[in-house]
């Protein structure tokens, strides 16, 4: 696959996730649960949250595993041997992402992937943090996409 094909494939995939994520965020915003207990008692809301978190994870995976290498590749950066940290720092310099935010979202994601025996208030606070992170990740992706488009790279 050429660098252009790779970026197109990454964007196609990320667009699918961000679209469903945006729908889930809009539904959540129409009627956010006020507590963990209220959420657990409402299967409809649980489904929205599941969808939202699933797409958050998938969008993050697509950006991390596909969009980051595809972007570096199309910008002709010699990134093959670089550890993730160096890739992130380079993309921050180029204006695509903020490393601190990205690593915060990684922590939020890794915590979602594990089930921790937290107290309900902490579980709920972690959920709200994950929803905020999903919103910020979606915004970052849209800017990234726009930036690639603006320089004719998509």
């Amino acid at each position: 696959m050429s660098a252009t094909d790779k970026i197109k494939a990454a964007i196609w995939e990320a667009d699918r996730h961000v679209e469903t994520l945006a729908e889930a965020l809009a539904e959540w915003d129409r009627s956010p649960a006020p507590s963990w207990e209220a959420l657990e008692a409402d299967r409809g809301r649980v489904r929205i949250v599941d969808q939202l978190l699933f797409r958050f994870i998938k969008l993050q995976d697509t950006v991390g595993e596909r969009l980051i290498p595809a972007t570096l590749s199309i910008l002709r950066e010699p990134f093959d041997e670089w550890p993730m940290r160096d890739r992130l720092n380079r993309l921050e310099k180029l204006g695509y992402l903020n490393v601190e935010n990205w690593l915060d979202w990684r922590e939020v994601r890794n915590r979602l992937a594990h089930e921790y025996p937290d107290q309900p208030e902490v579980r709920f606070a972690a959920l709200i943090a994950a929803i905020d992170a999903a919103r910020s990740l979606a915004a970052m992706y849209q800017e990234w996409r726009g930036r690639l488009g603006a320089v004719g790279l998509t």
Partner: protein, 105 residues
């Protein structure tokens, strides 16, 4: 203990960035066993004051993401408890019994 000096330094720096003075960080779990290999880095963070749930989550994220920044992404499991307070979680009891202090803010 199976942590390299640069890992201990990264944990200490991240703790200073994320938590108030008086906070202590203890290593527990498989990384205490010299004969074992790999495994998550299990950390107990004891804060001097109780944190609100939102603050706890925010500081925990900052702490771990600072470690990622220094060491690249790792499997890190952080439990936060308040000094001098009863805690019914089994993992906290175990961490308090076995934990080895690796950082003091």
């Amino acid at each position: 203990m199976r942590l390299q000096p640069k890992e201990v330094d990264a944990i200490a720096q991240a703790a200073r960035d994320a938590f108030a003075p008086g906070t202590a960080v203890f290593l527990f779990g498989s990384r205490l066993q010299d004969a074992a290999r790999g495994g998550d880095i299990d950390l107990l963070v004891e804060t001097p004051e109780a944190l609100s749930p939102a603050e706890l989550v925010q500081r925990r994220t900052r702490f771990v993401s600072r470690i990622y920044r220094a060491l690249d992404e790792q499997r890190i499991d952080v439990v936060i408890a308040t000094q001098g307070q009863q805690d019914s979680r089994a993992v906290v009891a175990m961490a308090k019994r076995d934990g080895l202090k690796v950082a003091q803010v």
